[in-house]
């Protein structure tokens, strides 16, 4: 799919990430957590998150903790922006429509939005 200013390239992994984020649009999540929520392998979401951040669909910030007191490094948390949540819903809907149209034209074709 051609990437535009409005919609990022919607790979299956991107759709999974967006769906996971949309389950609780105001929730802040970190990379590993997001992988678990989206059922993606660990260490695979950073390029997607960077792209979505570029589109301003996501914002990210460091966790505010005292690393020494917590006994662990701070996490980088990601959250859907208000605009991002709206756009993400629209993008998923669009991907699903396109996928349905494709399946209608080619009944033998399997798979989802790519």
């Amino acid at each position: 799919m051609r990437e535009s200013q409005e919609f990022p390239r919607l790979t299956a992994a991107t759709v999974a990430v967006l769906r996971a984020l949309l389950e609780e649009p105001t929730r802040e999540v970190y990379g590993l957590q997001l992988c678990a929520m989206a059922a993606l392998p660990t260490g695979t979401v950073h390029p997607i998150l960077a792209r979505l951040e570029k589109m301003e669909w996501l914002t990210s910030e460091w966790e505010q903790i005292d690393a020494r007191a917590e006994g662990r490094p701070r996490r980088r948390y990601y959250k859907l922006s208000e605009r991002g949540a709206t756009r993400a819903r629209a993008a998923i809907e669009r991907a699903e429509t396109q996928s349905a149209e494709l399946r209608a034209r080619h009944p033998g074709l399997a798979g989802g939005a790519a």
Partner: protein
């Protein structure tokens, strides 16, 4: 205690000791290289007064020394990326690029520039800042080591470090820290989970780099 558990504990201890040695060596080398760079900087400044060709050679040596210092700092960054990279690297990197550009300019010949001494002062300033950073980091690491030391060893942190190094320089500190944080979390699961994660990071470093290049103007400056 079974001999198998004892052996496993011994193995962990050996790996930790090896890590400690690597860390101490990296600090030692980075400190030495920086001290050497200061000496070479003074030689460049003196040579500039009398022999510009020689000054160029010395400036090149200075760039080499700084390159060595940066490699040691990379080791520190990989190990303690959370605490050091964002502060330490830019000053040394700045001194290195200035010294290298300066050496190339001198090597090209031509009449002395009135800015040359300003460049020398700028390199000196960056080196001084780098030295202060290193001392400060050393202190902070001593405090942080026991409680927040990332539980990441050997091949795993090398892979994660390499993945971070493949990213644009302005994004390395952020991602090095993010990777370290997640590796730390995976330590609760297993070393194998960490290794798999690090391998995937490396496999996706180029796509991430590609995305970051396109987003450089938005991501830079948020550290």
């Amino acid at each position: 205690m079974s001999s198998r558990i004892a052996l496993a504990q011994l193995f962990v201890k050996v790996v930790k000791d090896e890590d400690e040695r690597t860390l101490n060596n990296a600090f030692g080398i980075a400190t030495q290289e920086l001290e050497r760079a200061f000496g070479e900087m003074e030689i460049v400044a003196r040579a500039l007064q009398s022999d510009r060709e020689l000054a160029s050679t010395y400036a090149r040596d200075l760039a080499d020394t700084l390159s060595g210092a940066m490699k040691s700092i990379d080791v520190l960054t990989a190990y303690f990326g959370v605490y050091s990279s964002g502060i330490l690297t830019p000053n040394i990197f700045s001194a290195f690029t200035r010294a290298e550009t300066f050496a190339e300019r001198l090597a090209r010949g031509g009449p002395p520039s009135r800015y040359e001494h300003e460049v020398v002062d700028a390199v000196r300033f960056s080196l001084e800042r780098g030295r202060l950073d290193l001392a400060s980091i050393s202190f902070r690491l001593t405090l942080a080591r026991d409680s927040t030391r990332p539980l990441v060893y050997g091949l795993t942190w090398r892979l994660a470090s390499l993945a971070a190094r493949l990213l644009p320089p302005s994004d390395r500190p952020r991602y090095a820290e993010e990777f370290q944080s997640e590796l730390h979390e995976l330590a609760q699961i297993s070393g194998r989970a960490q290794l798999t994660y690090a391998a995937r990071l490396l496999a996706r470093a180029i796509p991430l780099r590609h995305e970051l290049h396109r987003t450089a103007h938005k991501v830079a400056g948020e550290q």
